[in-house]
Amino acid sequence: METNPGADLPAHRWRSEIPVDGSSLVTRALNPAGRNQGIRDLVKAVANPNTMLSKFGAPLAGGSRVILPGIDTRMPRFVDKSDLVAMTTEACFDAMGFYEITSLGLVLQHGVENDGGGFDTVVIAAQTEKQVVQVYSVFRLTSQQDFERHRASMVSGNFMPAQDLNWSYSIKGANKLAYGPFTHATDPTQNRAEGFQGWPGVLTGPNYSLERLGTNTLWQIADEYVPATYDGHLTLNNLLALKTEPPDFMIGFSRGQLKAFKVRAWWEPRDQQFDGTPIDPNRPTHPADCFQATGGDPQTGGELDRLASPLNGVAHQPRLNGVVAFDERSVVDELPPSVAETSAPRNMFLEGSAMWNSGVAIHGRRVDPTSGQAQFLAYDSGNLDLLSGSSVRFWVQPLVDPFLREEEVLLSFVGDDGRHTGIDASGTPAYTDRNAALNAADARRFGFRVIKKYDPILGDIFIRLETIGGWATGGGGAPDNRVQFVVTPTSGAVNPLQPEWLPNSWHWVVVNFGPTASASPPTRISLQVDMVLSDPANSLRVKGDGALGSIIEYGELMGHDWGWGGPFDRGPLRPGASNASVFWTEARFLGDWFHCDVGLSTTTTSDSATFGPNAVQYNTSTMQYEQGPDWPGTNPFPAGSVNRKMSLSFSDNDTTDSIDPPAPVDMTNTAPPGSPPAWTHVFTSTEMGPDGVEGGPEWGISARASWDVLQITGGKCNCCEPAADGGVGAAHDSRGTGKAGRQTQINPSSGKYTFVQWWGPGKMAPSLAGVPDTGSTALGFGLHAEGDDCHGCEACDVDGPVFFGGEPGPAVFNPSSPPSGPANGNYGGSTGAAAPNGVNASTMAYAVFDNIAFVNDSVRRTDNLADPNVHFFEDRYFETTLAFHANALLSESNYGAFYHRGLLEFLGQTGDLGTLTWTAYPSMENLEFSVALWELEDFLGGTGSSPPLETIWNATNALLLDNAIGPPTRPAGSPYGAATTTSYSNAYTTNPVSGSAQLALPAPPGGYGINFSTIPRYDGIGVPGVVDPHLLVLGIQLEGVPTGGPVAGTAAPGAGGSSVANTVRTGTTGVRGAVPQPLLSTPLFEDVTLTMVLLRPKIVFAEEGTEE
């Protein structure tokens, strides 16, 4: 097995292996003679109470600030707490409420005469009293579990329900999610009826926390995932917000699964009108069991499921959780209770979950523990519309120094036509429409890949798109199979217009390919990284697209010979068989389905017949050379023959002279198209006999007819094979139903057929052009394949798994465990797996992948500048409401950077609030989180209610914060993000607890924070039956960004039946006025601390001192 050059390195190792290459920012930062960042981070890791693991793709905001000459940036911490082998006490500069008070009591006596004759004051008795007292209590939220507990998801804007619940998708190919009900393994009381409910607006990390349960759990994290207790932070959301259409394929790992939630839906031409529109828009041909078609649940076993699921076997798929113990699933690989920790040590970062909030981690050392083979992502290329064009888009976050490894494959799509690809080792095609053979050694012939390339000579990092298989040619100079960008980190900036491949930075990669106009040349391939798009002038084009004036290398002459023995007989296009034929040449696009002769071959047999020696004679009456008695009386050419020729050969009737007859000559068919052949020849003098003149001695003249016969053998794909009813296959059906192809009819007046020109799948032109009547021609056509009735079933197009994070190994990769024969390429696993021997580990990226989308149709390519609405950029994070991106029906509801939490821990306590402090890091674009605190009365739902009404702390109380106390004004200068000075009727109209009296502390070095010195005492106890206890609610949200909110009070109730209150602002009125687009980084909220001064100090220790 080929070894991974980086596999022997510790994961996430921050060390450039290029010692002389100062290009690496990591190398420069680590340089002991300079920044020595490793030591700095080591100190931080020791002293910082926050764990702040950097190994899970932590946002750059949480990294260390690194200042190098000309560079001021952040990098992931090279050392974090998990790297320490010896722990010390963490640094804390806060008394945490405990004070040691020592009182010294003295009894003094004055006027005591000393030896010098003076007077002193002396101690005659002394005693110390020492007490350790708690003056205030400290409440801290710092772990993920802290942030998730008592999360107030009911507050409007915190939680967006998934539309899956309503299952009202009208998009074809949507994959109904198989969430819930959940049955607990041992505890029935934990069973739940509802499954996946939606998403939170602000994410907690580091463990996956996106999939949420229903209202009866207050949308807590699904049982399969456990919030971390060792670390915790908040970030912005990173859901995929792209409008999908039927041809699209989409994966959002936020849903907690590797399966796509939307696959490509397409209609074969037989199910389309002549203009390509579906006959039944609700019934795609593929996936055949799309729920719209069947009404059933297509979750398992159907084509929809297969198109959505990863192609690689489960063992080779990234792990969705680190489960071993049945209910403790987290990024840490939990051990079953029966396994002692020491007996089965696990690598927390490589054997735990590969799925994080931000995506799925790929790494050469993330392997299947049984087979030891690396885990990767591979999806079916049936989701690519290769004829109409497509753009493959995904987000990727490099996890290591880009200088560490020379090459990392981000995307690989290399396949072949049906001759060489297959699915199942047993010979059963995974798709009913596929009858391709099993894998062969050359199963990877055409396609492209995107790699990160480090050039050690130039010292630059490139993102490179390479075409494979000679499909492409450059538009202006060698090397002609690539387009690339320099992404070397030089400034440390996160700028989508000048991307830099910094560790832990996010990047959007797009490959556009296919025809620029659907099914029409020229075809182009372009690459986009973030917002930078390759210039089409330098883009790669498919050879033979006609645009370069080159030979149509992959084109072929296709012909339908309708009316000859049936509209779709397989006979080759030939003369004399019908009174008209249709033919054209077709460029073959990358991935265009090959001619539907998957199993066919064409054998050419040449034959001839000679008629003589008096086939032509000189007629002395007419003084012309004319047909003689040996001229064939009937058509000498067999039906179906092509390349017909008539030639004349000459023989000497007089052997006494020494003049030899001339060489044979070809005759010419001078008949116009549509007429019977008229073979003619103009005799030269040497052909007029030995004397060289007509009428004298003549040569014997024989006629020779020659022709080729093309014989087609083999079978076609399932799409066109004879149907069970004995018909001529689907072709017959389509004709019979008049869907795509039209039944040809003889025009009674002209005696000719009416033809429909068919321009490949999906394109049926109603006119006919350039159609010669071949009945009289002897030329034939240089066919190497016959015409067919390809329906676009894609059984024979370029198939190949689309790999993310690596690519398959060579064809005979790891032959020691071949599940499908001696040569394994793309497919052939015993379970229908792609690349049965796994990924080639040496090609693997060390990165996180997320939000994969195949956006099909050329007009939706990101390089389609003709469309001003083209989606040429995509946000990684959202600073404004996401609802209108993701859910039209809930477009009125606010959903974005909100986090609320009830401080239920304070119930039962009474005291004076002291300070509120927090630790947060701005994003690379300087976006920040702000914090607010509300005090809510009537916790029990009504003052004095007896018995108490429902508590206001319930899952449906979206207006929870309306109970807040305080005047509806906002203190000037407050870093709170709650409200403007003018109120508007949403949950933020009420004010933080401090009200107008709140004092904001100055900016650092005073520290961001809030004190409550003038705030009335908090009462979390109340008076039973008289005064309800109060509740504190903490709020965290994005601060200082454009908000796009309406004018005060203009919001209408939520639409679409949503019970979510109509809030429309996610932040405060923006103070910065602008944000870069797209947003590539997130701020990070690390911890928050609230202190409460006790009514009277609590004595925790007292000691009576020495008495003298």
Binding site: V1064, G1073, A1074, Q1077
Partner: protein, 293 residues
């Protein structure tokens, strides 16, 4: 309606005002260079747009290529006084003396729902509508500076082509010998060192400014450099395509050199045939439909 356009020299400044009495739309992009880098400030007023509307401001340079080169792209909010402002900075990179293009557009699919609803009601725009509000040319630097920069750009390109062709020739000679032959590795390393130095000189110039002229040519030059080093390393690894590729590269450099030469003398960065509206007065900014209503 009145139209005002002014161009500064020390700093790039242009303004578009399309105003009725007390209303309308105005846009004033400014480009400046300082010691720390370039800066783009976009500000204006949008009286006819609802408060909270999001505008996308873009700064780009049109060159020979079909795709304009984006230098800045940001979203700005229309505040309650109907003003908007945003800024973009390039730390460590300066704005070259070029003619830039700043445009403002409104993307319906990026608007908050209430704003979108109001816009749809007022203007009839559908959910994916993209309204180009204005486009303004912003020249930066004096004509002399622009000319000098253009000359320097072409000069450096030609110098780099000279370097590259020499390296390719040396590479062909080097790769005519097996990589495991005696002394090959030393020669390879020596050549690689020189390639790197010259490449860096070119690339550092390439990266010293936000956007340069002849961006496409620089990219192609870098691609050929990359192809050459790949070929050298392929040969080092014993792969036959190393020499094959090297032998093809002179053709690529020849084409590139011809293109560079064809761009002498001074080219326009905004050629006639690529202006959005041929025949327009180029000093007059284009106004998208609906702007300044």
């Amino acid at each position: 309606m009145r139209l005002i356009l002014a161009a500064g020299l020390a700093l790039g400044l242009a303004a578009y005002v399309c105003a009725e009495e007390g209303g309308g739309f105005s846009f004033e992009p400014q480009l400046t260079n300082s010691e720390t880098g370039g800066k783009f400030v976009a500000s204006g007023k949008a009286h006819e747009l609802p408060v909270g509307a999001m505008l996308h401001v873009e700064l780009l340079v049109r060159g020979q290529s079909r795709h304009p080169i984006r230098a800045a792209f940001m979203k700005v909010e229309v505040k309650e006084d109907h003003s908007f402002t945003g800024e973009w900075m390039w730390q460590g990179k300066k704005l070259a003396p070029l003619t830039y293009e700043a445009n403002v557009s409104l993307r319906m699919n990026k608007q908050p729902p209430p704003v979108r609803r109001e816009l749809a009601k007022n203007y009839g725009w559908h959910g994916d509508h993209n309204e180009a509000l204005t486009t303004i040319e912003v020249p930066l630097g004096t004509p002399e500076e622009a000319e000098a920069f253009e000359k320097e750009t072409l000069t450096r390109l030609i110098s780099s082509i000279d370097d590259l062709e020499g390296f390719i020739g040396e590479g062909v000679a080097l790769c005519s010998q097996p990589a495991d032959s005696e002394g090959w590795l030393g020669k390879f390393q020596e050549l690689a060192g020189r390639i790197r130095v010259r490449y860096r000189l070119m690339r550092d110039f390439h990266q010293s400014v936000v956007v340069r002229q002849q961006e496409g040519l620089f990219k192609r030059l870098i691609n050929i450099y990359s192809g050459m080093t790949d070929a050298l390393r392929n040969h080092q690894a014993g792969l036959p395509q190393g020499l094959e590729t090297l032998e093809k590269l002179p053709e690529a450099t020849r084409i590139l050199r011809e293109e560079i030469n064809s761009r002498k003398p001074i080219e326009s960065t905004f050629p006639e045939d690529e202006t959005p509206e041929d025949g327009d007065d180029e000093a007059e900014p284009r106004v998208g439909e609906g702007a300044g209503k």
